[in-house]
Amino acid sequence: MSKRKSKETSSATEECISQVQRIFRERFCHQCPSGKLFGLELQYKHLLELLKRTTIHGESNSALIIGPRGSGKTMLLNHVLKELMEIKQVRENLLQVHLNGLLQTNDKIALKEITRQLQMENVVGDKVFNPDTPQPRHLHCLPSPRAQLLGEGPVQTLGYMFYPPKIQGLRVGNILMLGLDSCASFLQGSFAENLSFLLEALKKGDRENSCPVLFILDEFDLFVHHKNQTLLYNLFDISQSAQTPVTIIGLTCRQDILELLEKRVKSRFSHRQIYLMNSFDFKQYLKIFKEQLYLPAEFSDKTFTQKWNKNVQSLSEDKTVQDVLRNHFHCSKDLRSLHMLLMLALSSITVSHPFMTGADLLEASKLCRMDSKANIVHGLSVLEICLIIAMKHLNDVYEGEPFNFQMVYNEFQKFIQRKAHSMYNFEKPVVMKAFEHLLQLELIKPVDGPSVRAQREYQLMKLLLDNSQIMDALQVYPNCPTDVKQWATSSLSWL
């Protein structure tokens, strides 16, 4: 009886755990707009009002959302759009154009993308497309022949490989459509034609009658580098003239973005800047930490939820947890890195270990802070370690001047001849091989480009490790000979 009971409870917790994992995976890995915004109420309101005015009053606007990476620019926008879309009037009227500076690398591509997203492509160029054959709105509703064509092609497979089908039609659509453009090339017409076409279309609109268009330029700073800033000029010009109501929202992390705009473009930009600063202190950070870990009230197992939330509460009061978090907070304030930390900590949750502990967090934090180069050093052979120590000494002596293999070899020979008791004197080609291995691991790097053809022994190199990294690595290096350690710590290597 009791056995069965325990079995039941274990299966119940199993269920709970998998649900918990699912919830947190969604919360931390996908930027779902259902998540919460922290400390962005003002910006949220500003942006919401702005977009509302565009859609409801047909007022043209432009704004930039500026903030460091991971500060929630896209999330803010998505939240605002989600709320906007709940208004019927907005939903039925607003046209959205999403561009990304990383995808639309020049104005020509951007224009094509705009016409595509505005679904005006069937009159672009010299070809008039038969209105009977539907143009693809999203990838998942492609007409069959084209879909088949695509399905075999590499593009589609790529899409399926990297993205779950669910989001494929949405954001990833861009990438895929890009590929589609180039292979099917259903957008004819030159750049100039496309531009005048689009401008004409937008010019024909007016405040009262045309659907407002929302342009979202992700990685806005990359658009600035397009030739003459033609696209930006025209978009901003439209926003400042009595044409189709448009709102241009740029997302960027560059604080100096305004200085990049050409003076005419700058004059046309409304200078609305919405800054996202991560302007919270540690107390709020702790609160965010709790919020992020709480299970939602609608979670199926109430008792488990209660227990879980209690555990989170106690965690947040725990001294070690707070220390871990504080250190993390000092390093980076953005929430994305917090998510990363929590993700690592939560991955240790299993049925046998259903609640997160301070130790988990500490472990995760260690993983997060790990020094990548020092990690590589752990896996080196003793000979390679010796070479690195020789380089370190050379660096100390010559104050960071570059060295070559011969110098390192000489240094190593000195060590072997005078001090080493346990080290075997390797032949020069063997040492050379070890040296090349270090080069491959990018622990050392040639000063000049690979094009310079000096003799290999005399090619100048630089060590990409700091002394502290080397010493730290040696501390934890397993079975390190004592004389090597001593050699490393001695400041006068030749003694």
Partner: protein, 888 residues
């Protein structure tokens, strides 16, 4: 268009017709074809747009002192020549074939004869007549209203009749002249007599019917004539086609039948109307013999079943006649028919009233005819009006015929239908339905030979054929027919006239419901103010410049400079608006206004393309456009208006060879160009800085510079925009103006700040009723827009980020350089951490911190994989960093 192309290739020789210059004979070098254009005919005149030559009526021909052949014309305007804003006045769709009698003053009506391309058919329409839908590749125009630059007026009855008169007169006046070259005179005379006799005899029986027809036919006659002339091009004109033809006439022959064939058939047809009497038959035979027409042969070739038509299958031919139009432009042919019917009806109704007028006309024309042709006998007769007119339409040189026999048979049928039409005049539907049907049926039959057609149609057609009576019962068939054909949508949009559009919104925009929203709307840069305050002087200067050039009919350039947001473009547009208004009110000669913007071009050379497109609607490549424009501006052309061209963002048109700028500024200096250029750019010394001497010199020294607005001007701009809406405190406006004036003098900035402050005000004072933007709100808005983001963001950066900045400064101080590697900074950072008692970050963490700061551009970071040896610089001033960090 074919004509155009050939024209470009081969030289043409122009010579007078007759000594008294009654017409002009155009002979192309390559082909033997000749074209004879007589005074009073309508002609196409080469214009700036090769696709759309001007239409004019030849009034007079003369030779000037230098033996140059000149012509005086009466211009007609296409709808595309009417300014856009005026087109609305018409309040209807205008087909591209409708033209307007051009009464706009200021056009040079004196043209070089060599600009004449060929003659063209123009059909005057009474005000109540509808213009047939476009249906022809070959141009036929309809004139219905006159255009005097301000408004459209229906052609006055006098004018209309005059125009029609011309047409009727033409065959007669024309024939002798051609005769002198082609036929012996006496022969024609005999012919005429013959015709006369025949017609009269026909008249007797079908008198009333003819009366209607004849009036009608007058308008049509020129059509057939024109088409024929296009084909034959030797000055022999087909006389008037008849009513039935008219129905079919706006046909395009995509079918096997060529337009000419149809025409011939049509003309036959009309003859056949009268040919109810046997005598008619005889007459026709004579004609055919006389002409021994080559078209006949071609016709037979084209239409293989015609030769076998000897006996019983005349309906087939009739069908083919009508069919071809139908097939081509289904909807349009119907419309045309409809029109024809209506036309007929109205005429019939008004018949009595017009009687007198027509009589007068007839007399007049008779007089003229007498003058022109001494040898004709036709004028002598004092027959009734109808007869007279019939005679006129019937020129002695008849169209060559084919299908004699089938035509005869056709006649009977047509006559029958005509008769029916006449009897059932009051019911319009009645009238046109049968014809529709028959054409329908025939069309399907025709299609059998040409294109496979839907079985459905065939069935219907056969039914129609078998039960002709049912056709006349319109009541049941009408609705179906009309719905099927009438709303036939136009062909899918072609790119040229494609009108891309942003979809129309479903719900209306909301109007502002409080003072602040109202103010915000008015303060938006896009809101067009009633007047432009503070730019009166500049306005006046530009206005005077353009005005004087307009009045003089010369060209010129003006260079306008000023920093962004000082109202350059707005002022120039305002000037143009005023000038256009003045031109509308006839105070100035009318002009064409086009605008290009360097920023809206993808390439400087695209400027040519845009200018040409705006000027003429042609779409060509840049190189070709340059050639065309050069030709346009550098050669004298008829009917040229002054063009005002605004070139915004001029500096973007810079190329290495500066050819675009050079051309742009060179054209106005051409005498004939009549081009006024207003070039706008930001920098005052642009001509000196980037232009070559020869370009700068052509730009000239007419320059104007827009100074940045002073705070008083900005204040005035805001208040004038607000226009007594009490939304701002006086001081607040002043604060904004002073702030902006001190910074840039950019009016856009000023308006944006005001707009933002209204938002802030609305946002902050949601409870309090008094919504007046105060100093505080404005201050906040200014802060938002102008305060440097760096200090604030540094304060909000994480501790290690701040520490890293400190470490950078420390390292800079230590080394005395403004650049350091990450490794060096790392050492400083570690030291600082030790002092502060913080956990020492790993190198990876430091690298992350560094790249984050680099992404925000606090730092300038080298972008390669040097890891620790990456060099770093500060992108913010050290003082700013120190200031930001000290405050804590």
């Amino acid at each position: 268009m074919e004509i155009m192309s050939t024209r470009q290739q081969c030289k043409r020789i122009y010579s007078w017709v007759g000594r008294e210059k009654r017409g002009i004979l155009i002979k192309s070098e390559r082909s033997v074809k000749e074209m004879c254009i007589l005074v009073g005919e309508f002609v196409l005149v080469e214009g700036e747009n090769a696709d759309q030559p001007f239409v004019a009526k030849l009034l007079k021909l003369y030779e000037d002192g230098s033996q140059e052949k000149r012509a005086v014309v009466q211009w007609f305007s296409r709808i595309s020549e009417v300014p856009l804003n005026k087109r609305k006045l018409l309040q209807r769709e205008v087909s591209s074939q409708e033209i307007f009698l051009d009464k706009v003053p200021g056009y040079d009506t004196d043209i070089n004869v060599e600009a004449i391309i060929r003659n063209v058919k123009v059909i005057p329409l009474a005000p109540e007549e509808a213009v047939p839908l476009r249906s022809h590749r070959k141009q036929i125009f309809f004139v219905k209203e006159s255009w005097d630059g301000k408004c459209f007026k229906p052609l006055s009855p006098g004018l209309l009749s005059e125009l029609k008169e011309e047409k009727k007169k033409k065959p007669e006046s024309l024939s002798p002249s051609t005769d002198c070259q082609v036929f012996p005179l006496d022969f024609i005379c005999s012919l005429k007599v013959e015709t006369d006799r025949v017609t009269r005899s026909a008249m007797k029986t079908k008198n009333s019917q003819m009366e209607i027809e004849s009036r009608h036919s007058s308008s049509k006659s020129s059509l057939s004539k024109e088409r024929h002339s296009q084909r034959v091009a030797n000055g022999i004109h087909t006389p008037g086609a008849r009513k039935k033809l008219e129905l079919n006439s706006p046909t395009k022959s995509k079918s096997k039948l060529t337009g000419c064939d149809v025409l011939e058939l049509l003309s036959d047809d009309c003859d056949a109307l009268e040919a109810l009497e046997p005598s008619a038959n005889k007459r026709k035979v004579t004609f055919t013999q006389i002409l021994g027409s080559p078209p006949k042969i071609s016709r037979t070739k084209d239409e293989p079943d015609s030769p076998q038509n000897n006996g019983g299958d005349w309906p087939k031919i009739v069908e083919t006649i009508r069919i071809s139009p139908y097939r081509r432009g289904q909807g349009s042919s119907l419309k045309a028919k409809n029109l024809g019917e209506k036309d007929d009806d109205t005429r019939h109704f008004n018949g009595r009233n017009e009687e007198e007028e027509t009589e007068e006309r007839a007399r007049e024309s008779r007089k003229r005819t007498k003058q022109a042709i001494t040898s004709t006998s036709s004028c002598k007769s004092d027959t009734n009006l109808a007869e007279e007119e019939v005679l006129k339409t019937r020129s002695p040189v008849m169209t060559p015929r084919s299908h004699r026999k089938c035509v005869q048979k056709t006649t009977a049928r047509i006559a029958e239908q005509l008769h029916f039409l006449n009897t059932s005049v009051p019911d319009e539907e009645d009238n046109y339905l049968p014809s529709t049907d028959s054409s329908d049926s025939s069309s399907s039959e025709e299609e059998e030979s040409v294109v496979p057609c839907t079985p459905k149609r065939k069935i219907r057609s056969s039914v129609t054929l078998s039960t002709p009576k049912s056709l006349r019962k319109p009541s049941d068939t009408t609705p179906a027919k009309t719905t099927r054909k009438a709303p036939e949508p136009r062909t899918p949009k072609t790119p040229r006239n494609a009108t891309p559009r942003i979809p129309i919104r479903k719900q209306a925009t909301e109007n502002p419901d409080n003072v602040l929203e109202e103010a915000r709307l008015r303060l938006h840069v896009s809101a067009i103010p009633d007047s432009l305050p503070c730019r009166e002087e500049e306005f006046q200067d530009i206005y005077n410049f353009v005005e004087s050039k307009l009045i003089d009919g010369t060209g010129g350039c003006m260079y306008i400079s000023g920093v962004p947001g000082t109202g350059k473009t707005a002022t120039v547009h305002e000037v143009i608006r005023c000038l256009q208004q003045a031109a509308e009110n006839d105070k100035l000669p009318s002009f064409q206004f086009i605008e290009i913007n360097g920023m809206k071009l993808t390439d400087p050379r695209q400027a040519y393309v845009q200018i040409l497109q705006l000027l003429t609607g042609q779409k060509v490549t840049a190189a070709h456009a340059a050639v065309l424009l050069a030709k346009l501006f550098c050669t004298p052309g008829p009917k040229r208006k002054t063009t005002v061209l605004i070139v915004d963002e001029l500096d973007l048109l810079w190329t290495r060879k500066q050819d675009v700028m050079y051309n742009l500024f060179d054209w106005p200096s051409q005498k004939q160009a009549k081009l006024i250029i207003l070039a706008i750019a930001n920098t005052m010394d642009l001509p000196e800085r980037i232009m070559m001497n020869r370009v700068a010199s052509r730009l000239g020294l007419t320059r104007m510079s827009f100074q940045p607005y002073t705070y008083k001007q900005l204040q005035q701009i805001i208040s004038s925009r607000l226009n007594h809406i009490k939304a701002f405190e006086e001081d607040a406006i002043q604060l904004v103006s002073r702030k902006v004036a001190a910074l840039s003098g950019d009016a856009r900035r000023c308006l944006d700040i005001c707009r933002r402050s209204t938002e802030i005000c609305e946002f902050s004072s949601q409870k309090t009723a008094s919504q007046l933007v105060s100093m505080a709100h404005v201050m906040k808005a200014i802060d938002e827009m102008f305060s440097s983001p760096y200090i604030n963001s540094i304060r909000n950066a994480s501790l290690h980020e701040q520490m890293f900045l400190k470490a950078i400064i420390a390292e800079f101080r230590r080394s005395g350089l403004e650049e350091a590697t990450v490794q060096q900074i790392y050492h400083q950072h570690v030291a600082l951490c030790r002092i502060e008692g913080l956990q020492i970050p790993t190198v990876s963490e430091i690298m992350a911190v560094c790249s984050r700061l680099g992404a925000c551009r606090f730092l300038l970071v080298e972008s390669n994989n040097k890891y620790l040896h990456v060099r770093v610089r500060l992108n913010v001033s050290q003082d700013d960093v120190m200031y930001a960090l000290k405050q804590e």
